[in-house]
Symmetry: C2
C-alpha cells in the first residue's frame, strides 16, 4: 500500500535554498528502492523551512531506505543546514479521485 | 510552478472512512483543471483524521478549483463529516531528486 511521508524541515537561517539544492540532487537509487515521488519545496511566508512530500511503494520501502548508506550519508550531509525543528505526518494512501 | 497543498482534516468520530470514500470518488474534472495528484489516506494512530496530499500545475489552478460548482458542492457535502479541525501547509515545488 502506498505510504506518504510529508514533512517540514526547519533550516539554519538563510540556508533554505542550500538545503533545497542538496535534497534535489538527482538520485537513481531512490526510485530503485521504491520511492514513487519526492517533491521538495518552499513557501516564502516561512523562509527558513523546506517542505517535502514523499510517496513510497510501502511503509517498509520507506523504512528500509533509511538504513541505506547513501541515505545515511545524505542525512549526515544535511545536518549542518538544519535547525532541529521538524514537523509533518505519515499516512497510508487509501485512494485518489484521479484513478480507479 | 507545481503547487502542493497538504492537509489534515479532522472528522466527526467514526466518520473517517466515510470521508475517505467521499474524497476518493472518481473525478475527471480534477485532472482537467490542473490537478496532478490527489492522494487521500489514513493513519490508525490518528483515527479521526483524513490526510490529503494534492499537487497542482500552479497555485492559480488550485485557487481556481475552489470556485468551481463541482468543488463547492463537494466541500458542502463533506461538511457533516468534519470536526472543524484542520492542519497542513502549502508550498511551491522547487524540484525532485527523481527528475532533472
Amino acid at each position: 500500500m502506498t505510504f506518504a511521508n510529508v514533512g517540514t524541515l526547519g533550516t539554519v537561517p538563510g540556508k533554505r535554498d542550500e538545503l533545497v539544492r542538496y535534497l534535489t540532487r538527482r538520485s537513481e537509487t531512490l526510485r530503485q528502492i521504491g520511492c514513487l515521488a519526492y517533491e521538495v519545496g518552499v513557501n516564502d511566508n516561512d523562509p527558513d523551512t523546506v517542505f517535502v512530500v514523499e510517496l513510497w511503494e510501502s511503509e517498509e520501502a520507506h523504512k528500509s531506505s533509511l538504513a541505506l548508506p547513501e541515505v545515511q550519508a545524505s542525512i549526515t550531509g544535511a545536518r549542518p543546514l538544519l535547525s532541529g525543528t521538524f514537523g509533518g505526518f505519515r499516512f497510508e494512501v487509501a485512494g485518489s479521485p484521479l484513478r480507479d
